[in-house]
């Protein structure tokens, strides 16, 4: 991507905001660039919504595995249990 990171005094477009959004969330942007991003956020409701929904996307992904860990584990198919134990015996593992 040819988009350059904005400098301290620059204003940025929505496209630049989206391009460097992950660095912003990871706190990987230097302070001056961070201020430029926050300046854009203060003036752009569409990017406020974009940021919020991007964060929600990440949280929804994380919740898939968290749910899985807390839930009663689904039963292992009996055929799979037998296959694993048989493979162990035939390969002489363990």
């Amino acid at each position: 991507m040819s988009t350059k990171r904005p400098g301290a005094s620059a204003t940025i477009t929505c496209e630049q905001f989206v391009t460097f959004l992950m660095d912003y969330l990871d706190e990987a942007l230097p302070g001056d660039q961070r201020s430029t991003f926050e300046g854009h956020l203060a003036a752009c409701p569409a990017c406020v919504n974009y940021l919020a929904t991007y964060r929600q996307t990440v949280e929804l992904g994380r919740s898939l595995c968290a749910t899985d860990q807390q839930a009663i584990p689904e039963e292992v198919p009996e055929a799979l249990v037998r296959a694993v134990l048989a493979a162990r015996r035939s390969r002489g593992d363990g």
């Binding site: 496209e15 989206v18 990017c47 991007y54 929804l60 992904g61 919740s63 584990p73 689904e74 694993v84």
Partner: protein, 201 residues
């Protein structure tokens, strides 16, 4: 992910595994196999491949049990092994030409504004049933992502690997992993958007 010490009952269990106790192996497969199968099913779309990956993962774990040092919980250790086995499986399959991701990325006007200004989403529902539906919706949309992007998103955001570990597993640089993840998140956001906008309840 935190790395608590092995619980005392796990220690005894691991000892039994090291002695080659058949019942301990079976107990391990029955107690952890379900979660491992869920991980493999997320990464591999074929049920046969997912089961093969779980079997390979257990065999690797059995071979490596002597080297299990106990700095992680058994479940965390097995999680890493099944992720690895599922990715091996992905790599051995012949890659089909992949759908381009660009149609799933946000579009911008020549002046840099969004073509369709982003809208807020409805707050997540609290009801367990609705949450289950939401999870199904998210998983179904993840499945729609091209494989390269689906895999990085699953590894980082769902399975919780850090950037370095995900990059190592995928044999790409950490920088490439970050770029790919950002594009995958944008695409998933775009796919979820029509379902979760504030006007949709």
């Amino acid at each position: 992910m935190s790395t608590p010490q092995v619980a005392p009952d796990e220690k005894a269990w691991i000892e039994r595994l090291r002695r080659g106790d058949e019942a301990a192996y079976e107990q391990l497969v029955r107690s952890h196999g379900g979660r491992m199968l869920a991980v493999a099913r997320r990464l591999l779309r074929s049920e046969d491949d997912a089961r093969d990956a779980v079997q390979e993962a257990f065999l690797s774990a059995f071979r490596a049990i002597d080297r299990f040092e106990g700095e992680a919980q058994l479940g965390t250790w097995l999680h890493r092994i099944v992720v690895n086995a599922a990715l091996m499986k992905l790599r051995t399959r012949r890659r089909k030409p992949e759908e381009p991701l660009d149609p799933l990325l946000p579009r911008f006007l020549p002046d840099g504004h969004m073509e369709q200004p982003a809208q807020a989403w409805a707050p997540p529902a609290d009801e367990a049933l609705e949450r289950a539906e939401l999870h199904r919706l998210v998983m179904d949309r993840i499945v729609e992502l091209p494989e390269t992007y689906r895999t990085i998103l699953l590894l980082r955001d769902v399975e919780g690997l850090d950037t370095e570990e995900a990059a190592r597993q995928l044999e790409i640089s950490p920088g490439a992993a970050k770029t790919r993840l950002h594009r995958a998140r944008q695409a998933l956001r775009e796919l979820l958007d029509p379902h979760l906008r504030a006007s949709v309840s």
